[in-house]
């Protein structure tokens, strides 16, 4: 009887263990599949960039091949690529700084002050992103011609800012809304001015949000192609346009295209790693109890 008494318990425990194992296996299977879906194109791209041009697009693919850095050497030696890459880094970097300088204070003001027609202002800011870019590229072209911004770096910076401003304002407004106003009030009672309160208390508390919108703005601007295509010709050509140039009317230089694309990932990856700590901090505030 004693064994009979203990058996159901132990078998239940066994079943529970089995179910846990199954859940773990299923979870890993889903994650592995997902990782594969995300990483395989990257692998494909990177491996293509390490193949000689003849071999790059062969079917079935050569899974085993002798890697070569020839494509990258070609890239680095091409002054057009280096210029375009540097152009893009400069223009995109400047646009991120500028969009944060404009967007973050704007979001703060929209969050904290009584702005007449606040809702309308917000929708108006968003309206710049309501049309497909192709619809606004022509007005942009005309405006750029009028203001001598065509093919200028400043013009491109402004264009990137216009793309990202609504994102920064909307996300940061929501972020500031989540930070209790009593923090600034405490700072003001402690002897800080409103501006000091914003600078010393609210901005540091908003770091995770700021870095999140910074990296997203960077990526959106970095991969922008259409406006670059229409609004530049020589001086302000972004790196995306250079990559695009490997797609010729009659042939595509697959290995060079792959090498340039892979190189484009590097700045984004570095930026991501640098601010990872803040992104991980996410939108959580353990400190402040909401009223």
């Amino acid at each position: 009887m004693a064994t009979a008494d203990t058996e159901p318990g132990s078998s239940q425990r066994f079943e529970k263990g089995t179910r846990e194992t199954l859940v773990t296996v299923a979870r890993h299977a889903v994650l592995l599949t997902w990782s594969f879906l995300v990483l395989f194109p990257l692998y494909w791209l990177a491996s293509m960039s390490l193949k000689p041009s003849g071999q790059a697009n062969s079917l079935p693919p050569d899974w085993i091949f002798l890697p070569t850095v020839y494509n990258y050497l070609q890239l680095v030696q091409s002054s057009d690529f280096v210029t375009a890459f540097a152009n893009s880094l400069l223009m995109v970097g400047a646009s991120v700084v500028l969009v944060l300088l404009i967007g973050v204070p704007a979001a703060y003001v929209l969050s904290r002050y009584d702005i007449p027609k606040e809702r309308d202002v917000l929708v108006w800011i968003l309206s710049s992103r309501m049309l497909p870019p192709i619809a606004v590229v022509l007005p942009f072209f005309i405006i750029f011609q009028e203001f001598n911004l065509f093919d200028s770096k400043i013009g491109m910076v402004l264009m990137y800012v216009s793309i990202n401003l609504s994102l920064v304002v909307w996300v940061m407004k929501a972020f500031f809304d989540g930070i209790p106003e009593t923090l600034e009030e405490a700072a003001r009672v402690d002897g800080a001015t409103r501006f000091q309160g914003f600078l010393k208390i609210i901005l540091p508390a908003a770091k995770p949000g700021i870095f999140s919108v910074a990296i997203i703005s960077f990526i959106f601007a970095w991969i922008e192609l259409l406006f670059g295509l229409v609004l530049t010709s020589f001086n302000a050509v972004p790196v995306t346009l250079f990559v695009y140039s490997f797609i010729g009317s009659r042939s595509i230089e697959w290995s060079m295209l792959a090498a340039a694309s892979t190189a484009m990932i590097i700045p984004v990856a570095i930026f991501l790693i640098a601010v990872n700590k803040y992104l991980a901090a996410g939108l959580s505030f353990g400190v402040v109890i909401k009223e």
Partner: protein, 382 residues
């Protein structure tokens, strides 16, 4: 250290016809070193009034003085005040030490080492000396509360403002911190304004209470004063726990006809009532007497609705037997007294403990009698 004077302070939110009157013509003198509690239900304007003193809101009309200085035009930073917020409002990105130093850095000329000494001393006093390097997010609610208090104390301000500082703590910790804030205020002797909706905090902490409702000042007085000598039905009902029982009635000659029973007015009450027609009788739960023996000539019979045993005492909810609308009143009895639900019981409201209020205006028209001890308590604290 400073006295605070409010002179005809009014605050409206919004404009024109839609404006909400949050504070309605409040005048108040708070003495140097006094502990004054603003108490009232939500929407009574108590927080707004404190925020006006802090300079976080600007009054629509009236003057605010801290000490002898008219501070109407001053922002919070120029008022030399320290404030404890309901949600503590600790700076999340700073350590406890940085939190406590921030105000001194912003508002004084002290050197870094002097600030460090002050902060360390205050932290030791508050029992948070070993938490100085922690971020607020790593602290428990009680510890955060202590940091918030410490951050205010280290400033050594003219005035402490506390906006419901205990309402986020659990019941036990709240009691402990209540005592502690009381002790601190006694030791530091800094003028303190304290906002709460909790009448227990108000009774136990304040030198004086400022009872507010709908933005209007109802009564300013010591806790004992507000308890024994409420100026109107609102104060009578708000101060004291459980609340005073009210019985609406109308006068017929010398009898108050309430719902379910009649009450014969004493001669003294009759002269207070005069020709008022609608009268509300008020009696506190601890004053009403219950008697099981049906032969005794007690005032009216009631049926027991619910019994809440509290240990040494019990709260008994009753309905007058002959009552028309369904409304209970509460009586405090000895906790050991056997009493069951649906039981019939005789009730007496002692004449000496009765308050009478004008049924239309709520104004007190007759106060309870005080025995000699009560008179001493009320007059001494006045």
């Amino acid at each position: 250290m400073a006295a605070i004077t409010l002179d005809s302070v009014t605050k409206r939110f919004g404009e024109g016809g839609d404006a909400i009157l949050a504070v309605d013509d409040v005048s108040l003198d708070i003495k140097d070193g006094e502990f004054v509690v603003f108490v009232g239900p939500s929407g009574s304007g108590k927080s707004t009034l404190m925020r006006i003193v802090a300079g976080l809101e600007t009054q629509s009309e009236g003057d605010v003085y801290i000490g002898d200085t008219l501070v109407n035009q001053f922002g919070p930073r120029a008022r030399d005040i320290a404030m404890v917020f309901q949600n503590y409002a600790l700076y999340p990105n700073m350590t406890v030490e940085e939190n406590m130093s921030f105000g001194l850095k912003m508002s004084t000329e002290l050197s870094t080492s002097e600030i460090k000494t002050n902060v360390t001393e205050t932290a030791e006093m508050m029992g948070i000396g070993d938490l100085l390097d922690n971020k607020p997010g790593e602290l428990s609610g009680g510890q955060q509360q202590r940091v918030a208090l410490g951050r205010a104390i280290v400033r050594d301000p003219n005035v402490f403002l506390m906006d419901e500082p205990l309402s986020n703590l659990d019941a036990k910790l709240r009691t402990t911190m209540r005592t502690e804030i009381n002790r601190l205020q006694n030791d530091l002797d800094v003028t303190t304004l304290y906002v709460t909706h909790d009448q227990t905090e108000a009774m136990t902490m304040g030198d004086r209470l400022v009872v507010l409702d709908h933005g209007e000042l109802q009564q300013v007085g010591t806790p004992v004063d507000c308890f024994y000598r409420p100026v109107n039905q609102f104060v009578a009902g708000f101060i004291g726990s459980p609340s005073m029982n009210f019985f609406n009635g109308h006068m017929e000659n010398t009898t108050l006809r309430a719902d379910g029973f009649d009450y014969e007015l004493t001669t003294r009450m009759q002269s207070s009532v005069g020709d008022t027609d609608e009268v509300v009788l008020g009696a506190r739960p601890e004053d009403i007497v219950l008697r099981d023996d049906p032969n005794v000539d007690y005032e009216f019979e009631a049926v027991v609705d619910v019994v809440e045993p509290m240990g040494s005492i019990a709260y008994v909810y009753l309905r007058p037997k002959a009552q028309e609308i369904d409304q209970t009143f509460v009586v405090e009895t000895d906790g050991r007294r056997p009493i069951t639900e649906d039981e019939y019981i005789k009730v007496k409201i002692p004449d000496k403990d009765v308050h009478l209020f004008d049924g239309e205006t709520g104004r007190t028209i007759h106060q309870r009698e005080l025995d000699s001890e009560g008179q001493v308590a009320v007059s001494e604290q006045r």
